[in-house]
Subunit: 327 residues, 2 copies
């Protein structure tokens, strides 16, 4: 398989991308290739800093770059030679099986939608973020793609999340929870109060009911469904609190000597180390990373991409959402 | 001044209420009285466990008690002899200046609305929760009273929050931020995108713009406005993450010997120790506490109530919201 990696995405690009790709290829199975997409001279200069660059690391030239000033929806028209557009087109044209980018999240989402198209039956593809809990990690979706949702969008998120957790991450019969401000069925705003009844009757969804903010890290479910506004606020809040505390703890404590209890705190908070949130519900694999991704986070995102390809995520999602198997 | 305290609110009532009230009266100025409202024999038995009970601690009998099974809106009709209804009526009838309760939040909110009535010009009273940041604490509102909001409700929250921070907490020219998923004016869902323009032009509001989830603990503002669904999810999430981490840290570390960096972590996370969120926009003082409040949290809520009374919070809010001064 071949993964196209936007080499111009992170704030320090292409350093973390190149280092992360090299680390990944040294660890991953031998059938994985990574294509660094971006300004070739810049990438070659970065590659020259590394010894023993794996042969399966390729370069595909894309002279332009998306910046924070570009309106996401206009990138595909205005920046056709950007690493984001070129990288996604490699996948569209069958020259790559997946795309990974730490560039502008809005631009990657919008260009993925234009290029890979939503799956039949999916109105609103959603970003799924895997978050740590006191138990197993869970998938929060939508974590930012759709700010105004209708109940049937949340139902689709439930399907997309279930399929991802089951087929890609191997979680049997994923428990789906609805994020709310109370546990009882009638609770919440109009959106979630109506969604509750629909989810409870939805075939193929193992709905376990409402959960409150306080239950989020409780580890009692596999998928947490919410609209992208709530999900995004929550995710960014969590990242900032976690980042703040971990930075302080790291400064004060030697993690290698941390007791089990503190190691747990590090583990719960340190998820920023892992990277790669899949855009679920499009006709391809598009993995979104933080702009501040480290090489380890890039490697983690490449692993998410490889897992998605290997598990036939797109085919499974298409099947689940509409009962239609893509040929 | 006299503060009515629901003695039957916490999960371990009336223990934390009685202990918290005694602590408060020992510290507060001599003009403060606290009336414990609840089952008199139960309260007397609890009082008997304490030596040197201050004289300014009174008891007002209310035989009934609100439970989690009571529908909030029905409490005023179905449980007229409950500590929540009796306590709020003491205020309505001029026998108390404020009410504090750790009972069912929904019941306290609904009964406060019925009893104290919204101020003229306020459609939706809101719960304001004071949260720690890396700088000064800030007020998050609405943190749970209103799950479906219109832009003009958020504008009212901005006024109520500003007045509270300025008049009651002494924060000059409070900076008001709108919780969103991006910083630019057009960002967000329909509600906040429309609210942005209104807030920017609202007289009497020092609007500093959108903030994202990651900025929440940044300490760059005094009031953060959001709808009660988002606010409640966020608040409960924060409480649970903070609680989890602090419990682990306390277990592992001796706080008294913590370095400055770790002391900061404790301070940011340990806000659950402080209690008392005012219901803003009603014609009286109603302070809501956690069901798991400790005596220290009850004492803190009583201090919030006393501050609100001393600062003439209700009169100031009424003036600010409608330009009408209550006589």
């Amino acid at each position: 398989m071949r993964i196209a990696l936007d080499a111009m995405g992170t704030d320090q690009a292409p350093g973390p991308e190149v280092a992360g790709a090299i680390e990944a290829l040294r660890e991953f199975e031998a059938d994985v290739e990574v294509v660094l997409v971006g300004d070739e001279p810049t990438i070659r200069a970065e590659l020259a800093k590394h010894a023993d660059v794996p042969e399966r690391l390729l370069v595909h030239h894309a002279p332009d770059r998306v910046t924070a000033d570009d309106a996401p929806a206009s990138v595909i028209r205005r920046k056709p030679d950007s690493s984001v557009v070129v990288g996604l087109k490699l996948q569209k044209n069958g020259e790559a099986d997946a795309f990974v980018s730490a560039g502008s999240t809005g631009a990657v989402m919008a260009t993925s939608l234009f290029t890979l198209r939503p799956l039949p039956g999916v109105d609103r593809p959603a970003v799924g973020t895997l978050l740590p809990s006191v138990g197993e990690p869970f998938l929060l979706l939508d974590s930012g793609a759709n700010v105004d949702c209708k109940p049937h969008h949340l139902i689709q998120f439930a399907h997309l999340g279930s399929t991802y957790m089951q087929n890609t991450l191997g979680r049997a019969n994923p428990r789906v929870a609805l994020l709310n401000i109370g546990e009882e069925p009638g609770k919440g705003n109009e959106l979630v109060a109506e969604t509750y009844g629909l989810l409870a009757g939805e075939p193929g969804i193992n709905f376990v009911g409402n959960i409150e903010g306080r239950d989020i890290i409780g580890g009692e479910y596999d998928v947490v469904v919410c609209d992208g506004f709530v999900g995004n606020v929550l995710l960014k809040f969590y990242e900032s609190v976690a980042g703040l505390i971990v930075r302080r703890l790291h400064k004060e404590l030697d993690r290698s000597q941390a007791s089990e209890g503190l190691e747990f705190v590090f583990r719960v908070l340190d998820y920023a180390e892992t990277g790669g949130a899949p855009l679920l519900g499009v006709g391809g694999v598009s993995i979104i990373c933080h702009g501040e991704s480290t090489p380890a986070a890039i490697k983690s995102a490449l692993a998410v991409a490889a897992q998605a390809v290997r598990s036939d995520m797109v085919k499974q999602s298409a099947k689940d959402v509409q009962g239609i198997e893509l040929s």
